[in-house]
């Protein structure tokens, strides 16, 4: 199949999925009881003010017309306003998404660094200690509640004032207070990713602070996201190592190093990268729980704060952004596969 045709078709699928997501989200947020107009003008406002706001927001229109208006707004890049922050939602998201991107990317890199090599090694040595350990850790990683894990890490590296025995104390020195990215002064704004900005500005003090605040939430996510990656890598590696073509290459004396690196690895990394894409899409959409625990000012935190305040425009925007980032990362990975995997070429 031609690449352009393939991309177009995938883009069409993506639009359909986005349409579905926006519809579900819209219905969920609009069917809700209660008039959002009161949230904006206050409960004490007189009826004419409420009516005016209701009309301005189109809340008196039938639901399908409201959705139509909403889609029209979306198409012109308007995500509405947040009454909680009194900003356009696009402004709010512009300020918060970099924090999510920074956290998600760091977490993914950390996750890849431990899970993929571990998965490969454990698959090569079946029933060894490292294999059993891999099985245990992947089981633990998919079962552990991430908010609790974050809390435990905070307990170990930040708190533990009376309980902590001596050896933990020195570690406390480099662990941050659990208050997100507000410690110290942020570096000069270029990309919005504090660590990257700090490096660009050669501001090592700011880099230290930024990395400092990033490490615990990123480590929490790295374990949660790494566990399924470990599982998948281990599974595919096992399968590949017992395949006919590996047996053939062995039977012709190809050295073990080349069997693993040249013959097996590409067969494993192709499917594993799909899983990586899913994980990255999930991370970029804002990880509600971890951002909540660490007070990380990203999209997830923004969404949950807005939900608690019944502020629905930001919630809808966060849902759409989350779905969009998932779909885009998945699409990019799919196209990369299409170009790399020889089996899709003919």
């Amino acid at each position: 199949m031609h690449l352009a045709v393939y991309v177009l078709r995938r883009l069409a699928y993506m639009l359909v999925a986005l349409f579905g997501v926006s519809l579900i989200a819209f219905v969920v947020t609009r069917v809700l009881p209660g008039n959002p107009a009161y949230m904006i003008v206050g409960v004490m406002a007189d009826e004419t003010t409420v009516a005016a706001v209701t009309e301005r927001l189109g809340l008196d229109l039938p639901i399908h017309e409201q959705y139509f208006r909403y889609v029209q707004q979306l198409a012109s890049g308007d995500l509405g306003d947040s009454w909680r922050t009194r900003n356009p939602v696009t402004t709010d998201i512009g300020a918060r998404w970099p924090a999510t991107i920074e956290l998600g990317t760091t977490a993914l890199i950390l996750a890849l660094a431990w899970s993929v090599p571990f998965g490969i090694i454990s698959a090569l040595r079946r029933r060894s200690i490292s294999d059993r350990l891999a099985n245990f850790i992947s089981g633990l990683g998919v079962s552990i509640p991430e908010f609790w894990l974050g809390l435990i890490l905070l307990l170990f590296f930040f708190g533990a004032k009376e309980w902590a025995p001596a050896p933990i104390r020195p570690l406390l020195e480099w662990a941050p207070a659990p208050i997100g990215r507000t410690l110290g002064s942020p570096p000069a704004h270029t990309t919005g990713l504090f660590t990257v900005d700090a490096v660009l500005a050669r501001d090592w003090e700011a880099f230290r602070t930024a990395a400092h605040q990033l490490i615990l939430p990123a480590a929490t996510l790295a374990l949660v996201v790494g566990a399924p990656l470990l599982r998948v890598t281990r599974g595919f590696m096992r399968e590949t190592m017992s395949s006919h073509h590996i047996r053939s290459a062995r039977a012709l004396g190809v050295p073990e190093r080349s069997i693993v690196l040249r013959h097996a690895l590409p067969n494993v990394l192709l499917p594993v990268s799909t899983m990586v894409a899913i994980m990255y899409g999930y991370l970029l959409g804002g990880t509600v729980l971890v951002e909540f625990v660490f007070a990380w000012p990203g999209i997830g935190k923004y969404a949950i704060d807005s939900i608690s305040a019944s502020d629905f425009a930001p919630v809808l925007a966060a849902v759409l952004l989350s779905a969009l980032s998932y779909l885009v990362v998945y699409l990019v990975m799919d196209i990369l596969h299409f170009m790399i995997d020889p089996r899709t070429r003919t």
Partner: protein, 287 residues
């Protein structure tokens, strides 16, 4: 008569022995049995989870095994009481999701056509959907009562069963025995019930265990962010949240024990699912 009773007793005992041996060989079953037992009869044996007992934030001791919280309530009693709630919500939500998702998925695979495509597209949209945000949004709108929580958790689990059943049923639809049943003039519902679904039930069971685990995780997460089970009802996620501020300053027991309860339950359910799958593979291998 007496001798018959005696033989019955010995076979019962040896059967019990076999069950015990089997349980030891498969720790997931044993662990699940213990958790269910705790949820069933535990609440009868422990203190009142809502009673203020005096000492606040006392560490674990012989009297209070898991310590007390900021109101001086017995954390052990609260964890045990919460087990019943969390397991119930998990079970009912997963069961609800199966009863909706499985027939829909099977029907989609069986019928094909526009109906199937539509189902597939909707469940794909759900895959891109941030599940937790969806659940949070609905709870925020409708208010966090337990029946609403169950329905919402079931709702976000439906697409999982739908896709799973659909992919398991699809290859069966074209199989010869279904064709034969069709030729025999059986109705669509009868074919699905008698010929198709029994063949996929084991996959569904393995998935069910995972989904109970997932439902408990979602419930705990919702409660943790304050939109799930409300105070003062004991629930693991809510308890982790209540203790969070104390935990990071050193009163670790307030959050650690309820979190461990979530971890142990979810881990057990996940391993149980692996066991069901492996057992199934074993029995197919022996066939």
């Amino acid at each position: 008569m007496t001798s018959r009773a005696a033989t019955n007793a010995t076979t019962d005992r040896s059967r019990l022995g076999r069950v015990v041996r089997e349980a030891l060989r498969r720790p997931a079953y044993l662990s699940m049995a213990i958790i269910v037992l705790v949820a069933l009869i535990g609440p009868l044996l422990v203190r009142d989870p809502l009673e203020f007992l005096g000492d606040t934030l006392a560490g674990p001791s012989a009297e209070f095994w898991f310590g007390t919280d900021q109101f001086g309530r017995d954390i052990f009693a609260r964890v045990v009481h919460a087990a019943r709630l969390d397991l119930w919500v998990g079970l009912i939500a997963a069961a609800l999701a199966v009863t909706v998702g499985m027939p829909l998925g099977a029907l989609g695979a069986y019928r094909g056509g526009l109906f199937d495509t539509l189902l597939l597209r909707i469940s794909e949209s759900f895959q891109a959907f941030p599940t937790l945000l969806l659940a949070l949004g609905i709870v925020a709108a409708l208010g966090p009562s337990i029946p609403i929580l169950v329905v919402i958790i079931a709702l976000v689990n439906v697409p999982v069963y739908l896709r799973l059943t659909r992919s398991a049923v699809k290859p069966l639809v074209d199989s010869d025995f279904v064709l034969a049943a069709r030729c025999a003039g059986k109705s669509q519902g009868a074919i699905l019930r008698r010929h198709v679904l029994p063949n996929v039930s084991e996959i569904i069971f393995a998935q069910f265990s995972v989904n109970v685990a997932w439902a408990i995780q979602i419930l705990a997460a919702l409660s943790f962010v304050g939109l799930g089970v409300q105070k003062p009802t004991p629930e693991w996620g809510a308890m982790v949240r209540d203790g969070a501020d104390y935990t990071i300053y050193g009163q670790w027991w307030v959050s650690v024990f309820p979190g461990l309860a979530i971890l142990a339950t979810v881990l057990t359910l996940n391993y149980l699912s692996d066991e069901i799958r492996h057992g199934q593979r074993r029995s197919i291998g022996n066939r």
